[in-house]
Symmetry: C2
């Protein structure tokens, strides 16, 4: 099917409609050439209405979604539904790396405060300094709105640790409590299959009973 | 972000643009809720041009692709580029379950004959009898075009075995050689991690040196 020498119309286009869609799907994270092929044939085998709906939603996506001017997360309304919700605790701000972290935390239904999206983590090796992140906006929010507590919900990585340390120092003179998500054994995990760093953290963060 | 009570415009729609796209991606094979979320945020973080291109190709897909009237595979031209290629061996037909099998075999560049897509395999438990498959078309092709050899390239499963057996019996009076793809240890595989059935097949199909 890749071998279409006799059709001049196809020769102008790089590959068939199937090939082009496979190539586009390949650019998504975690989608290799084989899975991309499986996706395209699944769509082809299925209801054309599904493909049309998917096309419509993709076409709409960037137009429908903007950044919330308060927290920096993705939203359709500004401010977003969380920042604009008077029932939430506006004195408690959960600071996250990316907008998708807001979604993940919201799905756990564990948190009733509001959010602040930094838009990344400090990573000197990748050339990402504090000036590239929404840290100034965080400072203004803490000063202006008088937040009582910040929960830093970064991944437990080198970049997460660096960013947490930086924020802790930056905010130490302000009257705000700062905490970080506990790091340790995952629920249902197994000591035997836990890496040394995680184990060490779970010792340091041990909880008195 | 799921909690939008104050916006009547959104209340009419089930969920936000992000939620709707996540729900659509979830309907693809092998894409769970988490991966769907990752895909949507990746697209949202990226170039809007990519989302637009993906939307266009999805919109085009079912209109661009039809079934080849000869082999039954997906194609943009009829007959498809393989059936219409005089350089290929038209006496050698590779019989496959699905159109995507044509793509997989073509990518291996191992086969220079032509194809026949059955559109499924015989599966009595799922109510798929021979009458639901393109077996009549295969018979006509063999009789009319005088194919010398059929290679049955089905998966080595119960349904693949059943279909191969059925075709073998059906075609035994015609002057056509029938073979099936070898089944056995995958290249780079390990005896220790090979299941019993595969091992048994690799014994039965052993090759004299």
């Amino acid at each position: 099917m890749n071998n279409v020498p006799e059709n001049p119309g196809l020769r102008r286009n790089p590959g068939s409609a199937i090939d082009r869609l496979v190539a586009l799907f390949c650019r998504l994270p975690g989608v290799g050439k084989k899975s991309a092929g499986r996706l395209v044939y699944h769509i082809l085998d299925g209801d054309p209405g599904y493909a049309r709906l998917l096309a419509e939603e993709l076409e709409l996506l960037h137009r429908a979604i903007r950044r919330c001017s308060v927290c920096g997360s993705f939203t359709e309304t500004d401010p977003c539904s969380i920042c604009g919700d008077p029932a939430r605790d506006h004195g408690l701000i959960c600071v996250v790396e990316r907008p998708q972290d807001v979604r993940i935390i919201e799905e756990s239904r564990e948190f009733r405060g509001i959010f602040h999206v930094l838009g990344g983590l400090i990573a000197p090796l990748d050339g990402i300094g504090p000036d590239k992140l929404r840290i100034g906006e965080l400072l203004s929010r803490v000063r202006r709105d008088g937040a009582q507590e910040l929960i830093l919900a970064f991944n437990p990585t080198l970049e997460g640790d660096t960013t947490a340390l930086y924020l802790q120092k930056l905010l130490q003179d302000l009257n705000v409590e700062i905490s970080r998500l506990a790091s340790g054994l995952p629920v249902g995990g197994d000591l035997e299959y836990t890496d040394k760093l995680t184990l060490s953290r779970s010792f340091r963060g041990r909880i008195k009973l």
